[in-house]
Symmetry: C2
C-alpha cells in the first residue's frame, strides 16, 4: 500500500510510516494509524452524541470498505452490533458484495440479517431503474432506506448505523449547497433522532475519509469489495467528490472543515426547518410506514416503487448500464 | 471574438450569433446580446431593489471590464452616475488602469473623482503589503472600502455601485461556504442598506458572468484593462472561480443557481446574524469612520494600516510580486 513517502516516519513512535495524512500534517505507522481511526470514531460518537453504551445497533452492510470498517470499529470499541445486508440484485456486483459481507460476519461470529429485494418485494435495482426510467441511485436509495428502517424497528434495534464517511457527507453537502436545498441541508446531520416509525440513524465515520477507511480495512485484513457500483458511474455525487479532492489537494483540511463547520455552525441555524415536515406524516396504507405522500391512493414512495418495479419483467444490470453510455 | 460556434444563430432574430451562452441554452447576435445584458441588469435592480430612479450613484471604477461595463449600463439605463477611481500605486498596472478609466469618462462626458492613496494617505498597495507582511489583497480591499465609503458620504451620493459580477460573487460565496463563515455569509448580498457612516452598497452585475461583461465591453467598443492585477496571482479567490467554472461546464446554470438560490433561500434565514454586529460600532478617533475595533488606541483598521504603511519606505510592485514566487 504505497500511501506514504519513502522514509517518512510515524508522528507518534518515529517507526516507519505506512500512511501520510496531509490534513493532519502527519504520518503514521500501522498501529498508530489504527489508533487514530479508533479515536476519530470515538470522538464523532462523543461529539455528536451518536450512540449510548446500551444501544442495540444495526449496521447497514454493503460489503464495501466503509460499512465493514464501521462494523469492525464499533465491535472493537465494545458496542453490540449486528449487520444488515440488502440484496439489490445488481448482477455480479451484488453477488460478490454479499460474499464479502457474509465472510466478514462469519469470521467474527457476528450476526448478519439478510433481505433480498427480489425475494421479498419482487424486483431488483436494474429492473426498478428501467421501470421508473430514473437514475438507478434513486430507486436504490429509496429501497435501502425503507428496508433499513423496517428491519431496525421490527428487530428492536435502537440505532441504525451507516458507513457514510467524510467524503460521502462532504460530497452530498456540496451538492445540496450548490443548489441551496435548505430542507435537505437542515437534515444533513451525523445523527437523526428516532421518531415515530423511524429508528435513530447515525454515521460514526464522518470524521474519517474514504482513503482512511480503505487503509483501515487493508491494515486489519478485511476483505472488501473494491469496485464501485457499476450503476453509479457518472453520478453527480462522484463529480462532487472529485471537486472536493481538488480543493483538499490545494488546501489540506478543507474537506473536514467544510463538513464539520457545517454541522457545528450552520446546522443549528436550520433547526426550525427540521421540525416543519414532521407534522405532515401519515401511515402508508400499504406498508404502514410513515409517509408524506399525498397521492389519491396514499401509498408511500416505496410501495409505489414496488408496484411499478415488480410488475416489470426482470432487466439485467448490463442492459441498464449499457443503455446509459 | 470567437465565442460562438460557427453557424450558430441568434435565438431572437436568427441572424449570425456572436456569443453562445450555455446557461441560457441560447446564442445571440450583438444587438440581442446587449439587450440581454441590459435586461439582466434591470432585472437585478428590480429583483433586489438595488436602486431608485433618484439615487445619486457613485461607481467604483478600476478601469477593468466590470466597473466600466456597470457604469456604461447604468448610464444607458438612465441613471445619474459619477465614477470614483482610486490610485492604488500598483506600478504599470495602476498607471494603465487609470488611463482606461479617464478615457472612458472623458469620451462620455462623465465625471470621474480620483483619489491617490500615495498622495492622500502616504502609501501604496505594494508598500502596504510589505509593511503588513500580509497578502496584498487584504490591504487593497481595506483601503478601497474606506475610500469608497468616505467619498460617497462626503460627496452626498446615495448609492455606491461596484462591478462585482456573478463569477466574483459566486467565488466569494464558495470560499465562505467551504469554511461556513456564517457572519460573512449573512452579509453577502447584492445590496447592503445605508447605515450610520456607510452608504448603500449595491452590485448590479450579479446576474452577469465575467465572460458576459467582457463581451459587453468588446461589443460596445469600451477599451478596458485586460490584465489581472499582478499582485492577485495565486489568490484563493481565483481557484474558487476555476472550481465553479468546472462545475458550470459539467452542468450549465450551476453558478447562477448557486449564487441566486443563496440570496433567495438562505440569506433570509441568516437575517438575524446581520443585525448582531451593528451595536458594537464606535467612531474611530483618527478618521471618524464607524469601526468595531477594540484596541487600546481605538483606531479603525484603515487608520492602523495608514500608520504602518506610511511609515515604511516605498516598495516597488516588482519586489513584492517576485518575493512571493
Amino acid at each position: 500500500m504505497a500511501v506514504s513517502r519513502p522514509g517518512s516516519k510515524c508522528k507518534v513512535c518515529r517507526g516507519p510510516a505506512v500512511i501520510d495524512l496531509p490534513r493532519h500534517n502527519a504520518n503514521f505507522c500501522a498501529d498508530h494509524f489504527l489508533e487514530l481511526c479508533r479515536r476519530q470514531v470515538a470522538k464523532a460518537i462523543e461529539q455528536f452524541q451518536l450512540l449510548e453504551r446500551d444501544d442495540r445497533i444495526l449496521v447497514a452492510v454493503s460489503g464495501g470498505k466503509d460499512s465493514l470498517a464501521v462494523w469492525d470499529l464499533l465491535v472493537e470499541l465494545g458496542y453490540r452490533a449486528d449487520g444488515l445486508y440488502v440484496g439489490l440484485g445488481i448482477g455480479d456486483y451484488s453477488d460478490v458484495s454479499g460474499e464479502h459481507a457474509r465472510a466478514f460476519a462469519a469470521g467474527r461470529g457476528l450476526r448478519l440479517v439478510e433481505v433480498s429485494l427480489r425475494d421479498e418485494h419482487g424486483y431488483d435495482i436494474p429492473t426498478a431503474a428501467a421501470a421508473t426510467r430514473r437514475v438507478p441511485c434513486s430507486a436504490c436509495g429509496l429501497s435501502k432506506r425503507h428496508v433499513f428502517d423496517r428491519v431496525a424497528l421490527e428487530g428492536g434495534y435502537t440505532a441504525l448505523v451507516t458507513g457514510h464517511n467524510l467524503d460521502d457527507e462532504a460530497a452530498v453537502l456540496l451538492g445540496n449547497t450548490l443548489r441551496w436545498e435548505v430542507e435537505y441541508l437542515a437534515r444533513q446531520l451525523p445523527k437523526l433522532e428516532a421518531r415515530e416509525g423511524f429508528p435513530k440513524k447515525v454515521k460514526p465515520l464522518v470524521r474519517l475519509t474514504e482513503r482512511e477507511t480503505a487503509a483501515w480495512c487493508v491494515l486489519r485484513g478485511i476483505d472488501y469489495l473494491v469496485d464501485e457500483c457499476p450503476m453509479a458511474a457518472g453520478n453527480r455525487h462522484l463529480h462532487h467528490k472529485d471537486t472536493l479532492n481538488e480543493i483538499e489537494a490545494r488546501s489540506p483540511g478543507s474537506k473536514a472543515a467544510f463538513y464539520l463547520n457545517f454541522v457545528q455552525r450552520m446546522a443549528p441555524l436550520l433547526a426550525e426547518r427540521r421540525s416543519d415536515d414532521q407534522e405532515a406524516l401519515r401511515a402508508c396504507p400499504g406498508c404502514g410506514s410513515p409517509t408524506t405522500a399525498t397521492g389519491a391512493d396514499g401509498l408511500c414512495a416505496f410501495c409505489r416503487l414496488v408496484a411499478t418495479a415488480s410488475a416489470h419483467e426482470p432487466v439485467p444490470v448490463e442492459l441498464v448500464v449499457r443503455g446509459r453510455r
